[in-house]
Symmetry: C2
Subunit: 204 residues, 2 copies
DNA sequence: CGAGTGACCAATTAGTAATATGGTCACATG
DNA sequence: CATGTGACCATATTACTAATTGGTCACTCG
Protein backbone atom coordinates (compact mmCIF):
# COMPACT_ATOMS: atom_id res chain seq x y z
CA UNK A 1 0.00 0.00 0.00
CA UNK A 2 1.55 3.29 -1.14
CA UNK A 3 0.76 6.46 0.71
CA UNK A 4 -0.66 9.23 -1.44
CA UNK A 5 2.47 10.92 -2.74
CA UNK A 6 2.49 14.29 -4.42
CA UNK A 7 2.41 14.11 -8.17
CA UNK A 8 5.74 13.95 -9.96
CA UNK A 9 4.70 16.44 -12.61
CA UNK A 10 6.28 19.88 -12.77
CA UNK A 11 5.39 22.61 -10.35
CA UNK A 12 6.03 26.32 -10.55
CA UNK A 13 7.46 27.99 -13.67
CA UNK A 14 8.71 25.39 -16.16
CA UNK A 15 11.73 27.41 -17.19
CA UNK A 16 13.48 29.04 -14.34
CA UNK A 17 17.06 29.60 -13.36
CA UNK A 18 16.45 28.19 -9.90
CA UNK A 19 14.92 25.04 -11.33
CA UNK A 20 18.06 24.43 -13.36
CA UNK A 21 20.27 25.12 -10.36
CA UNK A 22 18.38 22.48 -8.44
CA UNK A 23 18.79 19.94 -11.20
CA UNK A 24 22.48 20.78 -11.53
CA UNK A 25 23.07 20.41 -7.80
CA UNK A 26 21.07 17.19 -7.76
CA UNK A 27 23.16 15.84 -10.61
CA UNK A 28 26.35 16.39 -8.67
CA UNK A 29 25.02 15.13 -5.34
CA UNK A 30 23.17 12.09 -6.65
CA UNK A 31 26.19 11.11 -8.69
CA UNK A 32 28.59 11.41 -5.75
CA UNK A 33 26.53 10.26 -2.80
CA UNK A 34 23.60 8.45 -4.39
CA UNK A 35 19.88 9.13 -4.18
CA UNK A 36 19.33 7.87 -0.63
CA UNK A 37 22.31 9.61 0.93
CA UNK A 38 21.38 12.95 -0.59
CA UNK A 39 18.83 14.92 1.39
CA UNK A 40 16.64 17.64 0.00
CA UNK A 41 18.28 19.96 2.52
CA UNK A 42 21.67 19.16 0.97
CA UNK A 43 20.36 20.40 -2.37
CA UNK A 44 18.84 23.47 -0.75
CA UNK A 45 22.16 24.30 0.93
CA UNK A 46 24.00 23.76 -2.35
CA UNK A 47 21.96 26.43 -4.13
CA UNK A 48 21.81 28.72 -1.11
CA UNK A 49 18.07 28.59 -0.52
CA UNK A 50 15.84 26.93 1.99
CA UNK A 51 14.47 23.43 1.63
CA UNK A 52 10.91 24.73 1.36
CA UNK A 53 11.82 26.72 -1.73
CA UNK A 54 12.81 23.54 -3.56
CA UNK A 55 9.21 22.40 -3.28
CA UNK A 56 8.07 25.45 -5.23
CA UNK A 57 9.69 23.79 -8.26
CA UNK A 58 9.40 20.07 -7.64
CA UNK A 59 6.57 18.11 -6.10
CA UNK A 60 8.86 15.59 -4.48
CA UNK A 61 12.40 14.37 -4.16
CA UNK A 62 11.51 11.66 -6.63
CA UNK A 63 10.50 14.29 -9.17
CA UNK A 64 14.03 15.68 -8.96
CA UNK A 65 15.46 12.21 -9.48
CA UNK A 66 13.24 11.79 -12.50
CA UNK A 67 14.64 14.95 -14.02
CA UNK A 68 18.17 13.60 -13.51
CA UNK A 69 17.12 10.24 -14.88
CA UNK A 70 15.67 11.91 -17.93
CA UNK A 71 18.96 13.55 -18.82
CA UNK A 72 20.89 10.35 -18.09
CA UNK A 73 18.74 8.26 -20.40
CA UNK A 74 18.65 11.15 -22.84
CA UNK A 75 22.41 11.10 -23.15
CA UNK A 76 22.33 7.39 -23.92
CA UNK A 77 19.80 8.11 -26.65
CA UNK A 78 22.03 10.90 -27.92
CA UNK A 79 24.94 8.48 -28.15
CA UNK A 80 22.78 6.04 -30.07
CA UNK A 81 21.58 8.64 -32.55
CA UNK A 82 25.11 9.85 -33.17
CA UNK A 83 26.26 6.32 -33.91
CA UNK A 84 23.33 5.56 -36.17
CA UNK A 85 24.05 8.63 -38.23
CA UNK A 86 27.52 7.30 -39.00
CA UNK A 87 26.34 3.89 -40.17
CA UNK A 88 25.56 3.43 -43.85
CA UNK A 89 23.17 0.55 -44.42
CA UNK A 90 20.03 -0.09 -42.35
CA UNK A 91 21.55 -3.40 -41.28
CA UNK A 92 24.58 -1.62 -39.90
CA UNK A 93 22.37 1.05 -38.36
CA UNK A 94 20.33 -1.52 -36.49
CA UNK A 95 23.41 -3.40 -35.34
CA UNK A 96 25.09 -0.21 -34.14
CA UNK A 97 21.89 1.01 -32.54
CA UNK A 98 21.64 -2.07 -30.36
CA UNK A 99 25.36 -2.39 -29.71
CA UNK A 100 25.61 1.23 -28.66
CA UNK A 101 22.57 1.04 -26.40
CA UNK A 102 24.22 -1.84 -24.57
CA UNK A 103 27.77 -0.55 -24.45
CA UNK A 104 26.77 2.95 -23.40
CA UNK A 105 24.65 1.56 -20.60
CA UNK A 106 27.49 -0.67 -19.48
CA UNK A 107 29.84 2.31 -19.48
CA UNK A 108 27.37 4.24 -17.38
CA UNK A 109 27.26 1.33 -14.96
CA UNK A 110 31.01 1.46 -14.43
CA UNK A 111 31.60 5.21 -14.68
CA UNK A 112 28.63 6.58 -12.81
CA UNK A 113 27.22 3.78 -10.78
CA UNK A 114 25.05 6.01 -8.60
CA UNK A 115 23.28 7.55 -11.58
CA UNK A 116 22.95 4.12 -13.12
CA UNK A 117 21.19 2.90 -9.99
CA UNK A 118 18.68 5.71 -10.28
CA UNK A 119 18.02 4.76 -13.89
CA UNK A 120 17.60 1.11 -12.91
CA UNK A 121 15.25 2.07 -10.11
CA UNK A 122 13.31 4.28 -12.49
CA UNK A 123 12.97 1.33 -14.82
CA UNK A 124 11.74 -0.87 -11.98
CA UNK A 125 9.16 1.61 -10.78
CA UNK A 126 7.92 2.60 -14.20
CA UNK A 127 8.80 6.27 -13.85
CA UNK A 128 7.99 8.43 -16.83
CA UNK A 129 11.62 8.89 -17.94
CA UNK A 130 11.91 5.13 -18.35
CA UNK A 131 8.72 4.98 -20.35
CA UNK A 132 9.94 7.84 -22.51
CA UNK A 133 13.25 6.04 -23.02
CA UNK A 134 11.49 2.89 -24.15
CA UNK A 135 9.26 4.89 -26.47
CA UNK A 136 12.25 6.56 -28.01
CA UNK A 137 13.91 3.20 -28.57
CA UNK A 138 10.75 1.95 -30.22
CA UNK A 139 10.72 5.02 -32.46
CA UNK A 140 14.39 4.63 -33.40
CA UNK A 141 14.11 0.93 -34.17
CA UNK A 142 10.92 1.52 -36.12
CA UNK A 143 12.65 4.11 -38.24
CA UNK A 144 15.60 1.88 -39.03
CA UNK A 145 13.45 -1.16 -39.74
CA UNK A 146 11.29 0.86 -42.11
CA UNK A 147 14.40 2.13 -43.87
CA UNK A 148 15.69 -1.41 -44.15
CA UNK A 149 12.40 -2.61 -45.60
CA UNK A 150 12.34 0.13 -48.19
CA UNK A 151 15.96 -0.62 -49.08
CA UNK A 152 15.03 -4.26 -49.55
CA UNK A 153 17.41 -5.41 -46.83
CA UNK A 154 14.68 -6.60 -44.44
CA UNK A 155 11.66 -8.84 -44.95
CA UNK A 156 8.28 -7.16 -45.17
CA UNK A 157 5.80 -9.93 -44.40
CA UNK A 158 5.73 -9.51 -40.64
CA UNK A 159 3.72 -6.52 -39.35
CA UNK A 160 6.07 -3.68 -38.51
CA UNK A 161 4.83 -3.46 -34.95
CA UNK A 162 5.38 -7.16 -34.38
CA UNK A 163 8.91 -6.94 -35.72
CA UNK A 164 9.86 -3.89 -33.69
CA UNK A 165 8.48 -5.15 -30.40
CA UNK A 166 10.02 -8.55 -31.02
CA UNK A 167 13.40 -6.92 -31.46
CA UNK A 168 13.11 -4.87 -28.30
CA UNK A 169 11.69 -7.70 -26.23
CA UNK A 170 14.47 -10.02 -27.25
CA UNK A 171 17.00 -7.37 -26.27
CA UNK A 172 15.10 -6.61 -23.07
CA UNK A 173 17.70 -8.13 -20.80
CA UNK A 174 20.41 -5.93 -22.29
CA UNK A 175 18.50 -2.71 -22.88
CA UNK A 176 16.71 -2.06 -19.61
CA UNK A 177 19.14 -0.89 -16.94
CA UNK A 178 17.28 -2.85 -14.30
CA UNK A 179 17.87 -6.14 -16.11
CA UNK A 180 21.23 -5.32 -17.66
CA UNK A 181 22.97 -5.41 -14.31
CA UNK A 182 22.24 -9.13 -14.05
CA UNK A 183 23.62 -9.80 -17.53
CA UNK A 184 26.82 -7.80 -17.33
CA UNK A 185 28.95 -10.91 -17.52
CA UNK A 186 27.38 -11.97 -20.79
CA UNK A 187 28.19 -8.66 -22.51
CA UNK A 188 29.16 -8.41 -25.27
CA UNK A 189 29.14 -12.11 -26.23
CA UNK A 190 25.51 -12.77 -25.34
CA UNK A 191 24.17 -9.46 -26.59
CA UNK A 192 25.99 -9.83 -29.90
CA UNK A 193 24.51 -13.29 -30.37
CA UNK A 194 21.04 -11.82 -29.87
CA UNK A 195 21.78 -9.00 -32.30
CA UNK A 196 22.97 -11.52 -34.88
CA UNK A 197 19.81 -13.55 -34.35
CA UNK A 198 17.68 -10.45 -34.81
CA UNK A 199 19.41 -9.61 -38.06
CA UNK A 200 18.90 -13.18 -39.27
CA UNK A 201 15.20 -12.87 -38.45
CA UNK A 202 15.02 -9.80 -40.67
CA UNK A 203 16.45 -11.52 -43.72
CA UNK A 204 14.12 -11.11 -46.73
CA UNK B 1 34.10 -10.08 1.20
CA UNK B 2 32.40 -13.44 1.86
CA UNK B 3 33.41 -15.43 4.89
CA UNK B 4 34.64 -18.94 4.11
CA UNK B 5 31.43 -20.93 3.97
CA UNK B 6 31.29 -24.69 4.01
CA UNK B 7 31.07 -26.28 0.60
CA UNK B 8 27.60 -26.88 -0.78
CA UNK B 9 28.47 -30.35 -2.06
CA UNK B 10 26.95 -33.45 -0.49
CA UNK B 11 28.06 -34.77 2.82
CA UNK B 12 27.44 -38.13 4.41
CA UNK B 13 25.80 -41.00 2.55
CA UNK B 14 24.30 -39.87 -0.74
CA UNK B 15 21.22 -42.06 -0.44
CA UNK B 16 19.76 -42.11 2.98
CA UNK B 17 16.27 -42.08 4.39
CA UNK B 18 17.17 -39.24 6.73
CA UNK B 19 18.51 -37.16 3.88
CA UNK B 20 15.21 -37.48 2.08
CA UNK B 21 13.27 -36.67 5.22
CA UNK B 22 15.26 -33.48 5.55
CA UNK B 23 14.58 -32.51 1.97
CA UNK B 24 10.89 -33.31 2.37
CA UNK B 25 10.60 -31.24 5.52
CA UNK B 26 12.54 -28.41 3.90
CA UNK B 27 10.20 -28.50 0.93
CA UNK B 28 7.19 -28.02 3.15
CA UNK B 29 8.75 -25.38 5.39
CA UNK B 30 10.43 -23.35 2.67
CA UNK B 31 7.23 -23.37 0.65
CA UNK B 32 5.10 -22.22 3.57
CA UNK B 33 7.37 -19.86 5.49
CA UNK B 34 10.13 -19.06 3.01
CA UNK B 35 13.86 -19.64 3.22
CA UNK B 36 14.67 -16.92 5.74
CA UNK B 37 11.86 -17.66 8.16
CA UNK B 38 12.72 -21.34 8.28
CA UNK B 39 15.47 -22.22 10.72
CA UNK B 40 17.60 -25.32 10.61
CA UNK B 41 16.21 -26.15 14.03
CA UNK B 42 12.71 -26.10 12.57
CA UNK B 43 13.74 -28.77 10.10
CA UNK B 44 15.44 -30.77 12.83
CA UNK B 45 12.31 -30.65 14.95
CA UNK B 46 10.18 -31.64 11.96
CA UNK B 47 12.10 -34.88 11.46
CA UNK B 48 12.55 -35.50 15.17
CA UNK B 49 16.33 -35.22 15.32
CA UNK B 50 18.75 -32.65 16.61
CA UNK B 51 20.01 -29.76 14.57
CA UNK B 52 23.56 -31.10 14.61
CA UNK B 53 22.43 -34.27 12.88
CA UNK B 54 21.25 -32.28 9.88
CA UNK B 55 24.82 -31.22 9.31
CA UNK B 56 25.85 -34.85 8.89
CA UNK B 57 23.96 -34.74 5.59
CA UNK B 58 24.22 -31.17 4.39
CA UNK B 59 27.14 -28.79 4.62
CA UNK B 60 24.94 -25.76 5.07
CA UNK B 61 21.41 -24.46 5.07
CA UNK B 62 22.06 -23.21 1.56
CA UNK B 63 22.91 -26.74 0.46
CA UNK B 64 19.43 -27.81 1.57
CA UNK B 65 17.89 -24.95 -0.38
CA UNK B 66 19.87 -26.02 -3.42
CA UNK B 67 18.40 -29.50 -3.16
CA UNK B 68 14.91 -27.99 -3.08
CA UNK B 69 15.76 -25.68 -5.93
CA UNK B 70 17.03 -28.63 -7.95
CA UNK B 71 13.70 -30.42 -7.73
CA UNK B 72 11.78 -27.20 -8.41
CA UNK B 73 13.71 -26.47 -11.58
CA UNK B 74 13.67 -30.16 -12.40
CA UNK B 75 9.89 -30.19 -12.42
CA UNK B 76 9.85 -27.27 -14.83
CA UNK B 77 12.18 -29.23 -17.10
CA UNK B 78 9.90 -32.24 -16.75
CA UNK B 79 6.95 -30.15 -17.87
CA UNK B 80 8.92 -28.94 -20.84
CA UNK B 81 9.96 -32.41 -21.92
CA UNK B 82 6.42 -33.71 -21.64
CA UNK B 83 5.17 -30.90 -23.84
CA UNK B 84 7.90 -31.34 -26.40
CA UNK B 85 7.05 -35.00 -26.75
CA UNK B 86 3.52 -34.11 -27.80
CA UNK B 87 4.55 -31.67 -30.51
CA UNK B 88 5.06 -32.99 -34.02
CA UNK B 89 7.34 -30.76 -36.04
CA UNK B 90 10.62 -29.30 -34.76
CA UNK B 91 9.13 -25.84 -35.23
CA UNK B 92 6.24 -26.70 -32.95
CA UNK B 93 8.60 -28.39 -30.52
CA UNK B 94 10.73 -25.30 -30.22
CA UNK B 95 7.72 -23.04 -29.84
CA UNK B 96 6.19 -25.27 -27.18
CA UNK B 97 9.54 -25.66 -25.43
CA UNK B 98 9.89 -21.93 -24.97
CA UNK B 99 6.23 -21.27 -24.27
CA UNK B 100 6.10 -23.96 -21.64
CA UNK B 101 9.31 -22.81 -19.96
CA UNK B 102 7.77 -19.37 -19.56
CA UNK B 103 4.26 -20.38 -18.59
CA UNK B 104 5.39 -23.02 -16.11
CA UNK B 105 7.71 -20.53 -14.45
CA UNK B 106 4.92 -17.97 -14.27
CA UNK B 107 2.63 -20.55 -12.71
CA UNK B 108 5.28 -21.34 -10.15
CA UNK B 109 5.53 -17.64 -9.38
CA UNK B 110 1.84 -17.40 -8.56
CA UNK B 111 1.29 -20.82 -7.00
CA UNK B 112 4.41 -21.24 -4.92
CA UNK B 113 5.94 -17.84 -4.55
CA UNK B 114 8.30 -18.83 -1.76
CA UNK B 115 9.86 -21.63 -3.79
CA UNK B 116 10.01 -19.32 -6.78
CA UNK B 117 11.99 -16.83 -4.73
CA UNK B 118 14.52 -19.50 -3.87
CA UNK B 119 14.87 -20.37 -7.53
CA UNK B 120 15.32 -16.69 -8.42
CA UNK B 121 17.89 -16.28 -5.69
CA UNK B 122 19.68 -19.38 -6.91
CA UNK B 123 19.79 -17.86 -10.36
CA UNK B 124 21.19 -14.63 -9.00
CA UNK B 125 23.90 -16.31 -6.96
CA UNK B 126 24.89 -18.82 -9.62
CA UNK B 127 24.11 -21.87 -7.52
CA UNK B 128 24.71 -25.19 -9.20
CA UNK B 129 21.00 -26.03 -9.69
CA UNK B 130 20.63 -22.89 -11.77
CA UNK B 131 23.66 -23.76 -13.84
CA UNK B 132 22.32 -27.27 -14.32
CA UNK B 133 18.95 -25.86 -15.37
CA UNK B 134 20.57 -23.62 -17.95
CA UNK B 135 22.66 -26.52 -19.23
CA UNK B 136 19.57 -28.65 -19.59
CA UNK B 137 17.83 -25.91 -21.51
CA UNK B 138 20.83 -25.63 -23.80
CA UNK B 139 20.74 -29.38 -24.35
CA UNK B 140 17.01 -29.40 -25.08
CA UNK B 141 17.17 -26.48 -27.50
CA UNK B 142 20.21 -27.98 -29.19
CA UNK B 143 18.37 -31.24 -29.73
CA UNK B 144 15.32 -29.56 -31.24
CA UNK B 145 17.36 -27.24 -33.44
CA UNK B 146 19.36 -30.19 -34.76
CA UNK B 147 16.16 -32.06 -35.49
CA UNK B 148 14.81 -29.03 -37.28
CA UNK B 149 17.93 -28.71 -39.36
CA UNK B 150 17.83 -32.34 -40.38
CA UNK B 151 14.17 -32.01 -41.24
CA UNK B 152 15.00 -29.03 -43.44
CA UNK B 153 12.82 -26.71 -41.37
CA UNK B 154 15.69 -24.59 -40.02
CA UNK B 155 18.60 -22.91 -41.76
CA UNK B 156 22.02 -24.56 -41.41
CA UNK B 157 24.49 -21.79 -42.20
CA UNK B 158 24.85 -20.42 -38.69
CA UNK B 159 27.00 -22.51 -36.34
CA UNK B 160 24.77 -24.60 -34.09
CA UNK B 161 26.28 -23.16 -30.94
CA UNK B 162 25.71 -19.61 -32.11
CA UNK B 163 22.09 -20.36 -32.93
CA UNK B 164 21.35 -22.10 -29.65
CA UNK B 165 22.96 -19.47 -27.44
CA UNK B 166 21.32 -16.72 -29.45
CA UNK B 167 17.94 -18.30 -28.83
CA UNK B 168 18.51 -18.66 -25.11
CA UNK B 169 20.04 -15.20 -24.70
CA UNK B 170 17.12 -13.58 -26.48
CA UNK B 171 14.74 -15.43 -24.17
CA UNK B 172 16.88 -14.64 -21.15
CA UNK B 173 14.43 -12.18 -19.66
CA UNK B 174 11.66 -14.77 -19.75
CA UNK B 175 13.57 -17.94 -18.92
CA UNK B 176 15.63 -17.03 -15.87
CA UNK B 177 13.42 -16.77 -12.79
CA UNK B 178 15.45 -13.85 -11.51
CA UNK B 179 14.67 -11.76 -14.60
CA UNK B 180 11.22 -13.13 -15.33
CA UNK B 181 9.74 -11.47 -12.27
CA UNK B 182 10.42 -8.06 -13.84
CA UNK B 183 8.76 -9.08 -17.11
CA UNK B 184 5.62 -10.68 -15.76
CA UNK B 185 3.43 -7.96 -17.21
CA UNK B 186 4.73 -8.59 -20.71
CA UNK B 187 3.84 -12.30 -20.61
CA UNK B 188 2.67 -13.79 -22.87
CA UNK B 189 2.56 -10.97 -25.45
CA UNK B 190 6.24 -10.05 -25.23
CA UNK B 191 7.52 -13.58 -24.90
CA UNK B 192 5.45 -14.76 -27.84
CA UNK B 193 6.84 -11.96 -29.99
CA UNK B 194 10.35 -13.09 -29.12
CA UNK B 195 9.49 -16.69 -29.91
CA UNK B 196 8.05 -15.64 -33.25
CA UNK B 197 11.20 -13.65 -33.97
CA UNK B 198 13.36 -16.65 -33.09
CA UNK B 199 11.39 -18.87 -35.46
CA UNK B 200 11.75 -16.30 -38.23
CA UNK B 201 15.50 -16.25 -37.62
CA UNK B 202 15.57 -20.01 -38.16
CA UNK B 203 13.89 -19.88 -41.56
CA UNK B 204 16.00 -21.65 -44.18
C1' DC C 1 1.73 39.99 -4.93
C1' DG C 2 5.86 37.21 -5.68
C1' DA C 3 10.04 35.51 -3.57
C1' DG C 4 11.46 33.09 0.19
C1' DT C 5 11.51 30.85 4.94
C1' DG C 6 11.25 28.84 10.01
C1' DA C 7 8.65 25.88 12.45
C1' DC C 8 6.23 21.87 12.44
C1' DC C 9 4.42 16.85 11.54
C1' DA C 10 4.34 12.00 10.05
C1' DA C 11 7.16 8.60 8.42
C1' DT C 12 11.50 6.73 7.52
C1' DT C 13 16.03 5.70 8.93
C1' DA C 14 20.19 5.18 12.00
C1' DG C 15 22.06 3.28 16.18
C1' DT C 16 22.29 -0.11 19.46
C1' DA C 17 21.54 -3.72 22.82
C1' DA C 18 19.46 -8.19 23.22
C1' DT C 19 18.24 -12.27 20.99
C1' DA C 20 18.30 -15.91 17.68
C1' DT C 21 20.57 -18.56 14.18
C1' DG C 22 24.00 -21.08 11.36
C1' DG C 23 27.50 -24.00 12.11
C1' DT C 24 31.12 -26.95 14.89
C1' DC C 25 32.89 -30.32 18.11
C1' DA C 26 33.80 -33.25 21.74
C1' DC C 27 31.40 -36.62 23.55
C1' DA C 28 27.54 -40.03 24.64
C1' DT C 29 25.14 -44.49 23.69
C1' DG C 30 24.39 -49.17 22.08
C1' DC D 1 31.93 -48.02 14.71
C1' DA D 2 27.57 -45.93 13.39
C1' DT D 3 24.04 -43.07 15.11
C1' DG D 4 23.06 -39.20 17.48
C1' DT D 5 23.41 -35.01 20.67
C1' DG D 6 24.00 -30.86 24.17
C1' DA D 7 26.80 -27.20 24.83
C1' DC D 8 29.20 -23.71 22.66
C1' DC D 9 30.85 -19.68 19.49
C1' DA D 10 30.72 -16.00 16.06
C1' DT D 11 27.81 -13.80 13.25
C1' DA D 12 23.31 -12.27 11.75
C1' DT D 13 18.89 -10.68 12.91
C1' DT D 14 15.51 -8.56 15.70
C1' DA D 15 13.33 -5.14 18.66
C1' DC D 16 13.25 -0.74 20.29
C1' DT D 17 14.49 4.06 20.72
C1' DA D 18 16.45 8.40 19.15
C1' DA D 19 17.51 11.12 15.38
C1' DT D 20 16.66 12.47 10.34
C1' DT D 21 14.19 13.40 6.56
C1' DG D 22 10.49 14.31 3.08
C1' DG D 23 6.97 17.34 2.76
C1' DT D 24 3.53 21.28 4.19
C1' DC D 25 1.92 25.80 5.64
C1' DA D 26 1.26 29.94 7.71
C1' DC D 27 3.87 33.66 7.56
C1' DT D 28 7.49 37.47 6.59
C1' DC D 29 9.60 40.85 3.70
C1' DG D 30 10.14 44.14 0.04
Amino acid sequence: MTSPLPDSGPRGPAEHAIREQIVAAAGRHFSRYGYDKTTVSDLADAIGFSKAYIYKFFNSKQAIAEAICMTTLGSILGDIETTIAQARTPTEKLRKLLETAVSTSVKLFFNDRKLYDIAAHSCGEGWSPSLAYTEQLVALVSRVVMEGRQAGEFERKTPLDETVHGILSSMNGYLRPLLLQYNLDSVPEGSNKVIALILRSLAP
